[in-house]
């Protein structure tokens, strides 16, 4: 789990080792260079998920006049979140909040005050833990980009993402991974089913419904302009997700290996399930379908990755590929909310499914890695449900208020003629394709 690990390294013979080989001196302080190397790599992998993975995944799904705007959203969110994470985000998420610690951390580590190259978080440098966590903070608001493309104001995107990071992402991270009230209850969220996918999914749904649909929705919107770009981005997401989930073990060990394995199996199974359902329903399996299934499988295994085994991964993949696909159609055609790139149906629903299923798929009878000590399946299911419901409620309410404020200050939507012309030209003065 992502919570800071206690120092387990016993400094046996460390003094002697340090004399014989100065490099071993670090081991005496609890730093593990194997763990550190893997988390360094994982950090790069998770940033790679957003830039360029998610950005390209989304860019291919929009119309040709809004490609750059989507890339711009992802890129700008990365930059804004990075600065805020350094300023106060990390500290509020992961430092001790004193009397308010159940809900929010403190400001002791604002601007990384007091954190040096020697500071450790578990067996890795705290600076690295900061960076690793920052990449999660970046991708989460970037996921919401899929709710509002082709029609949103850029100023509203920046404002919403910045405030949302501090009001939704940071507190929820503290609740689940920073020693807050959900962590105290024993909630299980290995790599961000609740922290990343439930928060982003629910907020995306709220944003899309407050912003309104794209012009012509649902019958006359433009189809994805370049599925090939989407597949390229999706493939990067799959690779990057190894860092996301296996990196969340915060160690280079068997738990990380199992997390990587189940991540891969879930992605593969969900891809097949999604494509198979399309084949039966529409007569043809689509490329966009198979890669969307992959994202659903990855999002769903995320909370469960370090707790379930291969059989659990197969089940999670199968369920997510079918349920998320059904939800995609349901949200767009029944509820008629233009969550344009299906952030809620794929990420939100996936995150919820995985978070709940881990309650029983962690059982050894499913090849899982076991339940927490003193807790049964029912106890886990209760805690997981409390986690999902409370975080979903907080995400919805906070997002609603932030979007109201953004709407009052900046306005949410561009003018209709700008939407028709395309945000690339009207918001950024550039075009992605010049024929």
């Amino acid at each position: 789990m992502l919570t800071g690990k206690k120092n387990h390294v016993v400094p046996v013979l460390a003094g002697l080792g340090a004399m014989l080989w100065p490099g071993l001196a670090a081991a005496a302080d609890g730093l593990n260079s194997g763990d550190t190397a893997w988390i360094l790599v994982s950090t790069a992998l998770v940033l790679f998920m957003t830039l360029p993975g998610l950005a390209l995944f989304y860019a291919g799904l929009v119309r040709s006049g809004a490609v750059l705007s989507v890339l711009m959203h992802c890129f700008a969110i990365c930059c804004v979140v990075s600065v805020l994470w350094l300023a106060v985000g990390y500290s509020l998420a992961f430092s001790d909040g004193g009397y308010a610690n159940a809900f929010i951390g403190g400001l002791d580590k604002a601007f990384l005050a007091g954190v040096t190259t020697d500071s450790l978080s578990g067996t890795v440098p705290e600076l690295l833990f900061f960076m690793f966590q920052m990449t999660f903070a970046i991708i989460t608001p970037a996921l919401i980009v899929g709710a509002y493309p082709e029609r949103v104001k850029f100023s509203a995107v920046l404002f919403f993402s910045a405030v949302w990071l501090l009001v939704v992402y940071v507190p929820v991270t503290h609740w689940v991974w920073g020693g807050g009230w959900l962590a105290e209850m024993g909630v299980r969220d290995f790599a961000g089913g609740i922290v990343v996918h439930v928060t982003a999914g629910i907020s995306a749904l709220v944003f899309a419904s407050m912003l309104g649909s794209r012009r012509g929705f649902p019958d006359h919107v433009r189809p994805p302009h370049n599925p090939g770009i989407t597949v390229t981005g999706a493939a990067m997401l799959w690779v990057g997700w190894f860092g996301f989930n296996a990196g969340s073990a915060l160690a280079a060990d068997g738990n990380a290996a199992m997390a990587m394995l189940v991540t891969h199996i879930s992605a593969a199974t969900a891809s097949l399930a999604w494509a198979a359902v399309e084949w039966i329903k529409f007569g043809r399996p689509s490329v966009i379908g198979i890669v969307t299934g992959m994202v659903a499988g990855l999002a769903t295994i995320t909370p469960a990755a370090g707790f379930v085994g291969p059989v659990g991964a197969l089940i999670i993949g199968l369920v997510s590929g079918i349920v998320c696909q059904w939800m995609t159609a349901w949200i767009k055609h029944r509820i008629k909310i233009d969550d344009s790139l299906d952030v809620f149906a794929v990420h939100g629903v996936g995150g919820i499914l995985g978070t709940l299923m881990v309650s029983f798929l962690a059982l050894e009878s499913f090849q899982g890695l076991g339940l927490a000590e003193g807790m049964g399946v029912g106890d886990h299911l209760w805690v997981q449900t409390v986690g999902v419901v409370s975080v979903a409620a907080w995400s919805a309410v906070a997002s609603f208020v932030i979007i109201k404020i953004a709407s009052a200050i900046f306005g949410l939507r561009v003018a209709e003629e700008d939407e028709i012309e395309g945000l690339d030209i009207t918001a950024h003065g550039e075009r992605s394709y010049d024929f």
Binding site: P218, P223, K332
Partner: protein, 112 residues
Amino acid sequence: MKMVMAVIKPHKMDAVREALSELAVNGMTATEVKGYGRQRGHTEIYRGAEYTVNFLPKVKVEVAVSDDLVDRVVEAIQEAARTGKIGDGKVFVYDMGKAVRIRTGETGDDAL
């Protein structure tokens, strides 16, 4: 002189080019275009949502020919571009006022 303009299925372009080469037609211009006729558009399905595509991709071929060749050119295009299924396209012929070869300044049939 006539301008023969044909809108055909994209995959038939090579067949049309070969058929016209046999008639000693020395040049043509091809453009990727979008349009619809009786075939109307078609629907594409992404993530379970149907999108109506009203304009289908076609290739527009333009050939300038002398009056004595025009009927054979039209016939050759029709034969080469035909699949028998809806959406094969159309051929249009119109009068052409003037032709100039830029390099030499030749005009009329000599410029073709």
